[in-house]
C-alpha cells in the first residue's frame, strides 16, 4: 500500500469514526445532563451501568471510535506544528494505546462494578 493510499484510508477512517462519534457524543451529552442532576455519586453511576449490557456495548463502541479518531487528529496537529520532528507517530500511538486500554478497562469497570 503506497503512502498516499494509506493517507487516504486514514482520512476515511477518521471521518467514519467521526460519524459514529457524532451519534455517541450526542447521546453521551444527554446522559451527562441527566446524570449530573442532584450531584454525581459512584452509587448512582454504577446503579445505571452495572450489569447493563447495552450501556457496555455503547461505551465500548464509543471507546473504539475515539481510539481511531483522536490519534489521527493529534498526529495531524503534531505534523503541522512540529514538522520533521518525528514526534507525530510515537505520541499518537501512545494516545491510541492509552485510549484503547484505559477505555476498555473503564467499560469493564462500570459494567462489573468491581465484582470481577
Amino acid at each position: 500500500m503506497s503512502a498516499a493510499v494509506f493517507q487516504a484510508k486514514l482520512w476515511y477512517a477518521q471521518r467514519i469514526s467521526a460519524m459514529i462519534l457524532g451519534i455517541c457524543v450526542a447521546i453521551h451529552l444527554i446522559i451527562i445532563f441527566y446524570a449530573i442532576r442532584g450531584g454525581l455519586s459512584a452509587q448512582e453511576i454504577l446503579g445505571r451501568t452495572q450489569g447493563n449490557l447495552a450501556f457496555a456495548l455503547f461505551y465500548e463502541i464509543f471507546v473504539l471510535a475515539c481510539f481511531v479518531h483522536a490519534p489521527i487528529g493529534v498526529s495531524n496537529i503534531l505534523q503541522e506544528t512540529f514538522p520533521n520532528s518525528g514526534l507525530a507517530k510515537p505520541i499518537s500511538w501512545l494516545l491510541a494505546i492509552l485510549i484503547s486500554t484505559l477505555g476498555t478497562t473503564a467499560v469493564i469497570g462500570v459494567y462489573s462494578g468491581g465484582s470481577l
Partner: protein, 243 residues
Amino acid sequence: MSHTDLKVKVWRGTDQGEFVEYLVPRISNQTVLDVVTYIQRKLDPTLSYRFACRVGMCGSCAMTVNGVARWTCRTHVSKIVEGDSLEIAPLNNLPVIKDLATDMREFFNKWKGAVGFFKGDQTRHDDFAKVEPQSEERQLANAGIECIGCGVCYASCEVVEARSNYLGPAALNRAWTLSNDIRDVQQIERLRAVAGDAGCHACHTQGSCTERCPKAIEPTASIAGLKKLVARAAVKGSKWGKL
C-alpha cells in the same frame, strides 16, 4: 483632490528586508495599484512590482494588503485603509524575488504535480467529443474552471505555510475540474498525485482560499470532491482502475 497623504508601508528587499514608509497623495477612487505605481514612478524608481491588465482580468497584481492577499487593481484604498495607513507586502508562501514580486515557479510546479493539465486521446481526425453541458460532471468542472492562476488562494492558505509539499488550493481545484472532464485520459495518475498529505487530505477546510478568491471560485468544494473521490478509490477502486 484630498490634501491628506496616505502613509504607505511597502516591503523592500527579499525574504529579508524592511518596511519603508512612503507618503502618497490621497485621490478619490484610488486603488492600491495606483498607490504602488505612484511610489515607483514619482518617489522611488527602485521599487519592483508586477501588474499587467490593471482591470481585474489577469491576476498579476496580487499582493498582500494589510495582511490579506488581494488583487491590488481591484482594491479601492477607501475600502481597506486603516486611518490613513496602508501596508503592502508580497504574496505570502512564495519566495520573494524583490520587493513586491514573488517567484511563482513552485505554485505552477505544484499545478503540474497535481496533474492539473489536460490530456486526451482523440485527434483531429476523430469526431468532436460530446460533452453534455448539463451533466453533473460538466457542471462541477465549470464551477472551478475560471481560475487564472493568480496565487491569492495559495498565499492565503495556512496549510501551504505549514506543509512545504502541500499542492495547494489552486492546483487541487484544477485537478478536480479535470477529474470531471470526461475526455481526459490521465485520471488514475491524477488521483494518485492528489492523494495523501501532499494532496487533498491535508486540507483542513479552513476556507481561506474560498474566502479570498477574487473570482469567487470555491477550492474548498473542489478539494472536498477530491477527498471523497480519492478515499473511495483507495478503498473500493475507481472507475478508472485501482489506486
